[in-house]
Amino acid sequence: MSEPMLSVRDLTVTYHGQGGAVPAVRGVSFELEKGGSLGLAGESGCGKSTMANSLLRLLPAGTEVTGEITLDGQDVLGLTPGGLRAVRWTSGAIVFQGALHALNPVQTVGDQIAEPMLVHETAKNDAAARVRVVDLLRRVGLPAARADAFPHQLSGGQRQRVLIAMALACDPHLLIADEPTTALDLMVQAQVLALLDDLKQERDLTLLFITHDLSVLTYACQRLAVMYAGRIVEEGPAWAVFESPSHPYTRALAAAFPTIGDRMSRMSPSGLGGDPPTPGQLPEGCPFHPRCPLAHDACLVAEPELRASGQGGRAACILV
């Protein structure tokens, strides 16, 4: 695995709003090898979705993106509009969050699944597209007759499956799943995760999985990266990050999940007080220090860089 499927170098994303520049992503670097899977975790507002959208340049016009994104051997930030349209969905496809809103209410789901094939002309005509739609629906566990249904006639889990089918329509190499299980109940969540896992094995997909739910990530991904205030603060093999986190933030995030059957975790739920900092007004030094239970004077001075933290991971904390 010489050439990584996705490589991100020093990515920064800055929104320019009325209140001035808002750095949403501040210097993120990672590599994702072919067939690998990376989970991206973090609280709301820490830059996860911004980063995901920057990978296919889907951010609103006027957003400043610097750094280097290489997807499938192509420099995403340097592409022309036409080249960019060609890369979208064939190299990397997105499974959106909020399945109801990502579907057009006045088109049947079959037509919408066929849409990327017709846009990219991977299906010669409507008939070929139709055959493929039925194939894809079966693959994600929906009956072929559902192709003629409208989005409002499907349940939340079914809609999410439709979005997965749509993401697979052009055989992408990289699948970006942006909170695909957020609005679903636990049983359906498990089904969708199992489906993604199966598809990944079957098609040798590379998976970038974004969610705030650490337990979902440890199930679905080999490696895990935790973001805080626009940076990766800890990164490593999924089990290591979840079982023995090095960064205090990851520790708090992992501890926030109650263990079923454990009376202690039910009686005294642990979590993290406060809110993540506003991207426009980051605190001096380590951005996590105002909420960190282990913070001391040195944390106020400089923002720590990622460094090796044992068990094949890296963490950005001076205590590591």
Binding site: L56, L58, R85, F96, G98, A102, V106, V119, D126, A127
Partner: protein
């Protein structure tokens, strides 16, 4: 176009028709409209066009101000013409002008609204200032000036109605395009590599189609009534017998005070029935175009 696409299009049309047939209001509207359209098409069979000429009427020896009892089927007017002939031939002008002016209104309004809403920025600003410019011009004076400058014929009436009534449609559609544009499925379409044209034709247009149809159903009656107004003010085509012109002549010649109800009632009820029929059909089509409005799944 492939045969399969044709088939699918036919299937869609079939589905719309099945849904339409199950709606009572839609079928009533369609029935009434068909009746009037048939009447307009069959006008030469139903009444002699020469009956519209007072010279011919006098030569025929028609009585003046005859009630339906005295001269069948609908009596005569102040210059001995058959009211039935005016009603039948008037339906042609009124329905044609109403439809043609609506097509023009909706076409201009939709194009301006969609381009303005979707492209945004400077294009939006320029188009909206233009729209406002048309919107603030008082309708009647402009219509009167245009009608008298251009000359009084049916095509000019259609042009006048179209050019004066598109701005409200354009603003309405622009507003809807702006909300649809923000929806996630438009981002999704963009992220799967769709171009602007594809997004407009596959996502924006189908989602504003219900509104365009609803607006068209409102525009047909308004166009018919505007034609009536212009004719009533004496700006209509003098050679075309429209329902509005009948109303004007009935009014000017004192049909009301004479209690000559047969002179103005047919034209008035005709306008009412056609306007109502279009509204009923439009509402039904809107329900079909927007699956979430329709009852039952």
């Amino acid at each position: 176009m492939s045969t399969l696409a044709m088939q699918r299009r036919r299937a869609t049309a079939g589905r719309v028709w099945t849904q339409f047939r199950s709606s009572r209001q839609g079928m009533i509207g369609l029935g009434v409209l068909l009746l009037f359209v048939l009447m307009a098409l069959a006008a030469p069979l139903l009444a002699d066009a020469r009956e519209l000429s007072p010279v011919f009427a006098r030569a025929q020896g028609n009585p003046q101000w005859a009630s339906p009892g005295e001269f069948s089927p609908l009596g005569t007017d102040h210059i001995r013409r058959s009211v039935w002939a005016q009603f039948v031939w008037g339906s042609r002008v009124s329905i044609f002008v109403g439809l043609a002016a609506t097509v023009l209104t909706i076409a201009i309004g939709s194009v301006v609204g969609i381009v303005s809403g979707f492209v945004g920025g400077r294009v939006d600003a320029v188009l909206m200032r233009l729209t406002e410019w048309f919107l603030v011009i008082p309708f009647l004076p402009l219509a009167i000036v245009l009608a008298s400058v251009l000359g009084r014929n049916v095509w000019n009436i259609i042009f006048v109605i179209g050019i004066t009534s598109w701005p409200s449609t354009a603003r309405l559609i622009r507003a809807q395009v702006l909300t649809v544009k923000q929806r996630l499925f438009v981002d999704r379409a963009r992220s799967l590599g769709a171009s602007g044209g594809h997004i407009v034709s596959h996502h924006i247009l189908p989602n504003v189609m219900g509104l365009i149809l609803a607006n068209a159903t409102l525009a047909v009656p308004i166009s018919i009534l505007t034609e009536t107004t212009l004719s009533f003010l004496g700006l209509g085509d003098p050679s075309a017998a429209s329902w509005g012109k009948t109303l004007e002549e009935a009014f000017v010649n004192g049909a009301m005070t004479r209690n000559a109800w047969w002179y103005f009632l047919p034209a008035g009820l005709g306008i009412l029935a056609v306007v109502l029929a279009f509204t009923l059909i439009g509402r039904t089509l809107e329900e079909i175009a927007n699956p979430r409005l329709s009852r039952g799944r």
